[in-house]
Amino acid sequence: MANRSKKKAKKERKKSAASKSNVIFDDEDDRDLKEGDENIISEEEEEGDGDERKRQKLLEAISALGGKRKKKFGERSEAAVQMSEFTVNAQGNDDKIDLSDLLGTMEKTPAVSTKTKKQLKNLQQGKMTIESPISKQASERIQRNLAFQKAAADVSRWSGIIRQNRKAEQLIFPLNQEPSGPKTMEKIVTGWKAQTPLEQEVFALLSANNQPINDPILTPAEEASLKAMSLAEAKIRRAELQKARALQSYYEAKARRERKIKSKKYHKVHNKNKGKEFLKQFEEMVKTNPAGALEELNKMELARMQERMSLKHQNSGKWAKSKAIMAKYDEGARKAMQQQLELNKELTHKLTTSLHKDEEEEKDAAEEEVMPSFVNDAEQVLDPSNPWMRGKLSEDLAHDENVVVNVPSVVAAAPENTAEEEDEIVETEEETLLREFNSRRKLRQGENPDTGLVMSVDDKEEDHEAAADASELEEQELSEFTNILKGLAHNQCDADAEASAGNCDTQLDKPHDDLELLDQETVTDEAPVQPHSAPSTNNPQPSTEKEGKKRKRKRGIEITKVLTKETNPIQVPLIPTVQETEDTDEKMDQRCLIKEAFAGDDVVSDFLRDKKKQEEEGKPKVVDLLLPGWGEWGGIGLKPSRHKRKRFRIKTAPPPPRKDQHLPTVIISEKRNRSMSSHQVNCLPSPFENHLQFESTMRSPLGRTWNTERTIKKLTKPKVVTRLGAIIEPMAQEELMKDQKAESESSVASGKKRRKNNAK
């Protein structure tokens, strides 16, 4: 039973689905049939007087009992308003009526002309039939459909207004209110008559001088002038003027803005573009006006000279320093540095003509050249762990190896420098002098963190702040001399105290070199990209010396001073990953690959930094609740009294210990506040698409504490305004007219514009 009902339900569902999918056409036919039947029955009942009829009926009933039930249509007996078409039938023999039956009598009647007889005969012979007319139901359906389409189209005219009203910021009802503003003069004047004698006199004058009084308010001249330019034209004209004015003001504003832009990069790009344009012009000028071009050329040369003389690209400016610090972390900064260096090289490059000159000059040049190479070094060792950052990897490698091998013999200020002067095994005195200069310069520049050496600071220290780097560098530089002393003591060399104090001899340079070497080694230890740690271990230099130096270094740099932060115990898990670099070559290769791929980002340290940041945020802070001007004078330059400051600076209590205190790899956010969350919106409300939208609507306050009067009025405008006691009529057809008029006007205006554009 249940099963059946279920089936039924299913069927019904299917049916309903089917019916919904396609529009149903009415099934009036059978309904009408039934109606007809009822009619007949009632009619037959009414006429009960005729006996014969009764008999007939009885007979019919009997015959119906025996045979098959056949629908019999009753006879039409009375005039009725509603009569079914189905009741009409051919009474009699139940035979079909033929045309010949009707035409039979025609032959006999003499009144019919022979012509019509012929025609009728033809008709009788012809087998063509007229198409049966479409059924009433179908025709009605068509009629309804057409009517509906018409009505729908009619009603759709309102869609513009409806959309507009839905979008409107404010709707004021009743809709067709008279504007409350000043009325037009015509309206006032028409309902007013001259009464006082003065007024009458004035009017008499006016009428005498052919001036209009009420109806056309404008004089003929005025009207003519008005007609000279139609409203639409005037509007277009005004719009054009407005546009021109606006454009001008935009350009002015833009120029002003550009002048005020502080961004150097912007100006650089701007100037570059200008330069390009200038070059183009110059090329043209060469063709057309060679004299002018020459002059320009001279000017350019002069400018170049000036720039060369200036210290602009010497890497000593504030910008360069900051970039040097940033270079480690920021690729952009690195690039900028490189560009700067290139520019410098270009500028300081001696022109070929000046190369072959006196030896003295050459010497100068050499000195000059020392500087750029020195600077350039910095860029090459930007990020020792990252091979992509190095311009020429293999070359460098070779140089480095060379250096390592040559350590006892070669004495150089820096490994890079030695690389340049590799071929000169025997040093001249001049060169030593030069190097002396170099080292001195280093000493001087050691204070600046942006020198090339900053870049060679090893990877370990990368995590620390730039300041720490700098300070360490300083230490390194300062400890040079002490190193020398120590080295002397350790090696029991034959160097004298004089040499170490005054003359920067080979002996002096040697320990310095060692120091560099050490640096190199540390670098190689951590950077698997340079797989030449073996030679360094083969280094004949005694390890004890190294250790001694390290010790010295430790003594020279106090860790607590350099590292202001406590060392992080969580860094322990990091160590194995570093140590793994000393695995087999294959693994190392893979590691290299991975490291290359992820050269820029260090996820672990980022995480640690994040955690540290959050911890910092959670620490108790001093809250300054001081409001200026309360209880004493306030204003620019006035400081509130100490007493007050003390009173209103409140130290918050330290929060309970963090939950992730002992979990090194987890950050547990403790921002959620249970008591607050019941007041907070926990899911995005429907009209908004993302939380930013929602927050932006929340951000701007509405009240008069924060906004000016006009803004408040605008902000708190109610959506629907109704007037007390005014009947609001439904929307009238006039609104539609207004809308259409406005639309047509706008279309006319646009059409005119288009025409104009075409003409242009």
Partner: protein, 453 residues
């Protein structure tokens, strides 16, 4: 020496421009200097949140919508009509054939007339407001003068039309002297003639209400007993279109500002808003009633509508809101049969089974009467605050809270459980049948059985 010192010394004196703080006349507003520097006014969000919370609470505190009850009928109020030109006049017809004219400002009955033998089924005021039409179960249409008869004069209709069948509703054209009645068929009548100028039938059915479109004034809508809504154009010979729903529609109301939208009150406890051009699917389904909805009327602004239900409540819906924004009920109000929204959009009138007509405020907490500008500003500001913070849970909770009679409260819960059960079952059927064979049907598609052309 001393003078020399004075010469060089600069003496700083506090000096202010009186224009900044002195009013020109006594009638001017006092100038209040303000500094809008945001640092001086911190915590704007939290402060405004508190204000919004307070505004919401106050709105609930002041929500007293019931204004007056008009008693005097001796049987249930079956129909009402607004006066087209006078706000303070209301007409009501009861089940015993009596028609009363009320003065709303005085809360009193101005005129009583025995219009029909039995039920007054429908009533409408002519667009000019000088006369009104009533139809009754005694198969007559009567036209009455709006003015009361003079002393000694008998209360007589201007015109009486005897029909062949019972009339169940009447509505007047908004601009011409044409009115429409419904009963066994929908008839369009010219005021000057005693026979209809046009009558529409479509199958065998009886109609319960007919309404003219107030904007596109030639269009009509009617509700038939065969669960259908039929649309007509007065100028056409045939009806336009018909939509058959799962249950019967009692009345419909056209939006007076948006020509092609109408809302119909259905027996299945819901109201449906249709776009007349696309009848195969209602645009919005308005739920919340717990019994058949008997009447619906649009606010003259077209932004909201009010519905009367057999569950003894009135609910106010936004035109595009699927849930009601307000529910009105009193202990003594029985099944609400008819409801009207006053033509200044400030009041709602409801006629119910227990012979009373009740006058309600359309917005429950609004202050009646003229507001001084400062009050107006405060109201506007509070309104905007409530709007801004409406999504905050605490504010939403307070704003949504309504007291309901226990019966209705329980029934609502029950209905929700039933709805959920049905949904669950549907889900299960879908889960256990061949994928794609039982497609999900939207709630909007369910009420429509067919659209007939």
């Amino acid at each position: 020496m001393f003078f020399h010192f004075i010469d060089t010394m600069k003496v700083k004196v506090l000096s202010r421009n009186p224009d900044d703080f002195v009013r020109e006349t006594k009638l001017d507003i006092q100038r209040v200097p303000r500094n809008y520097d945001p640092t001086l006014h911190p915590f704007e969000l939290s402060r405004e949140y508190t204000r919004a919370l307070n505004a919401t609470k106050l709105e609930r505190v002041f929500a007293k919508p019931f204004v007056a009850s008009l008693d005097g009928h001796r049987d249930g109020v079956n129909c009402m009509a607004k006066h087209t030109k006078s706000l303070s006049t209301l007409l009501s017809g009861s089940c015993d054939g009596q028609v009363k004219v009320w003065n709303l400002t005085k809360h009193e009955c101005v005129r009583t007339l025995q219009a029909h033998e039995s039920f007054v089924r429908g009533m409408v005021v002519r667009y000019c407001g000088t006369s009104f039409f009533t139809v009754g179960e005694d198969k007559t249409i009567k036209q009455w003068k709006m003015e009361a008869p003079g002393y000694g004069e008998e209360e007589e209709p201007l015109k009486t039309i005897l029909g062949k069948t019972v009339f169940t509703g009447v509505d007047h054209h908004w601009k011409d002297g044409v009115f429409a009645t419904c009963g066994q068929q929908v008839d369009i009548w010219d005021e000057q003639r005693s026979s209809p100028i046009r009558s529409f039938t479509w199958g065998v059915d009886s109609f319960s209400s007919v309404r003219f479109n107030p904007v596109q004034t030639e269009l009509l809508g009617s509700c038939a007993s065969d669960r259908s809504i039929v649309l007509y154009d007065m100028r056409e010979a045939a009806p336009l279109k018909k939509v058959i729903m799962t249950m019967r529609t009692n009345t419909l109301s056209w939006n007076p500002m948006e020509a092609y939208y109408f809302t119909c009150a259905n027996e299945d406890y819901n109201l449906y808003t249709y776009d007349m051009r696309f009848l195969d699917r209602p645009i919005v389904v308005h739920t919340d009633h717990v019994s058949a909805v008997l009447d619906v009327d649009y606010s003259p602004t077209g932004q909201e509508f009010v519905s009367a239900s057999f569950d003894k409540t009135i609910r106010i819906f936004r035109k595009d809101g699927s849930n009601s924004r307000e529910v009105y009920h009193t202990k003594r109000m029985q099944h609400v049969i008819c409801v009207k929204w006053s033509s200044d959009s400030k009041y709602i009138l409801s006629g119910s089974d227990e012979m009373n007509i009740r006058l309600w405020k359309a917005s429950a907490s609004e202050k009646l009467g003229v507001l001084v500008p400062r009050e107006r500003q405060a109201v506007n500001y509070n309104q905007k605050l409530k709007e801004k913070f409406q999504h905050f849970p605490q504010i939403r909770r307070i704003a949504r809270h309504r007291h309901l009679p226990k019966l209705i409260y329980r029934q609502t819960k029950e209905l929700n459980i039933m709805k959920e059960a049905r949904r669950r079952k549907e889900r299960n059927v879908r889960k256990h049948s061949k994928p794609g064979s039982v497609p999900p049907v939207s709630e909007k598609d369910k009420p429509v059985v067919a659209v007939v052309q």
